[in-house]
């Protein structure tokens, strides 16, 4: 059974239907890239997986459990599904270490010592052991994003959602963040990422999902999809990038 199952997901913003019946299953350890033009619904789809966007219709199952709209379900869901945002969204009033420690302490009720140990481990993993006492505004964008990844990992999620995690970064900072994501993928973390980094998607992902006008238009092995797009839309999307 898949780790995450999306079935017939529908979502509208007012009169605008952004998701028109999405079916997608994500296996444990799989790395999936969602690609497509802006407005194709890929970010919205990603945000439905941890309940940041409520769905109008359809079924979301995570780890065999159906997710309803009840708050308790949502909180339980979010313990399984971590998320990293385009704009990092670090808490500016806490240090890097406190950013990572906070949720294990207040949500998982871990002791301070426990939370600190995990936080230090995660910050070391993303290469920021020497920046733990820095506040977000003392860190570069790439460093902030790596703290955000550490913060999500400290909750030990089963799936990590990445919403254009390098789009807000200066070009020279993109690689340090991608290196961390690549490392996670190699360690077997289940990843779902909305990305514009096509080369990265091609190298790292197991499955590519091309979205077009609120539907999954084409899906498959990245190598295959890129070199041999079956639909004119994907063809022009890939062509437009080259």
């Amino acid at each position: 059974m898949s780790l995450v199952e999306l079935h017939a997901i529908h979502k509208s913003f007012g009169a605008l239907e952004v998701l028109k019946g999405i079916d997608l299953s994500i296996d444990e350890g799989q790395v999936i890239a969602l690609i497509g033009k802006s407005g194709s619904g890929k970010s919205t789809l990603l945000r439905t997986i941890n309940g940041l966007e409520a769905i109008d219709d359809g079924v979301i199952m995570v780890d065999g459990k159906k997710i309803s709209e009840r708050d308790t379900d949502l909180l339980a869901l979010r313990l399984q599904v971590g998320m990293v945002f385009q704009q990092f969204n670090l808490f500016p009033h806490y240090t890097a270490l406190e950013n990572v420690m906070l949720s294990p302490q207040v949500v998982k009720k871990q002791s301070k010592a426990e939370a600190r140990e995990i936080a230090e481990e995660m910050l070391a993993k993303v290469g920021l052991a020497d920046k733990m006492m820095h506040y977000p505004d003392q860190l570069s964008g790439g460093q902030q994003q790596r703290v955000a990844i550490a913060r999500a990992l400290a909750m030990k999620p089963k799936v990590l959602l990445c919403d254009e995690v390098t789009s807000a970064l200066d070009p020279e900072l993109v690689n340090e963040v991608l290196a961390v994501v690549r490392q996670l993928a190699e360690e077997g973390m289940t990843l779902v990422m909305v990305t514009h980094e096509m080369r990265f998607a091609r190298e790292v992902c197991d499955k590519l999902v091309f979205m077009h006008q609120g539907r999954i238009h084409e899906t498959g092995d990245p190598e295959e999809v890129f070199s041999n797009p079956k639909t004119p839309e994907l063809s022009s999307f890939v062509g437009g990038l080259a």
């Binding site: 909180l75 979010r78 599904v81 998320m83 945002f85 009033h93 806490y94 949500v107 506040y135």
Partner: protein
Amino acid sequence: MSEFSLWDIVYNLLLAGRWTVLLSLTAFVLGGIVGLLLLMVRTAGNPWVVRFVRGYVELFQGTPLLMQLFIVFFGLPLIGLDVSPWVAATFGLTLFTSAFLTEIWRGCVESVGKGQWEASASLGMNFTQQMRYIVLPQALRIAIPPTVGFSVQVVKGTAVASIIGFVELTKAGTMITNATYAPFTVYGCVAVMYFLICYPLSLFARHLEGKFRNVAR
């Protein structure tokens, strides 16, 4: 008729001024507590509650404080509650203060970006945890200068309580004037005393504004 020296006037005004300070503090503290509760229930987002709080704020911002005190003072006896001027003034000013503070703080909470709510939600925090650890600490920094600034309005607002017979600074001024027939001297002293209470608060608010400008943490 006995003679009033300037010292007598100042001394009696100082005695009454204690009530102005006490009334201001009480209204400010109680108003702050009520305002915070209104802010919490409003931010939690039930549409009916949001509408109620908005109406509450509009009501108190859209009517003169004097009318609010009259309605409390003359209205409560109609439903069988005979209240002293002190209780009526405290009650009225508390409502007034809570309406303004909740509105000031709402703006501060809203200035904490949506990304902060989403990040904390995606880490599994519930509403109370989000407010306590993420939103309020950031909103508080922004809120301190305007809140201290508003305290000046509360102090000046207490003067209105003189109309319903509560003997604070302004009412004492009126009473002393009636005895001395020296309105200019007496009200001059009254004004100086209000100024001595309010000016440090204004300075403090300005100082905090400078201190918290562009400081995220």
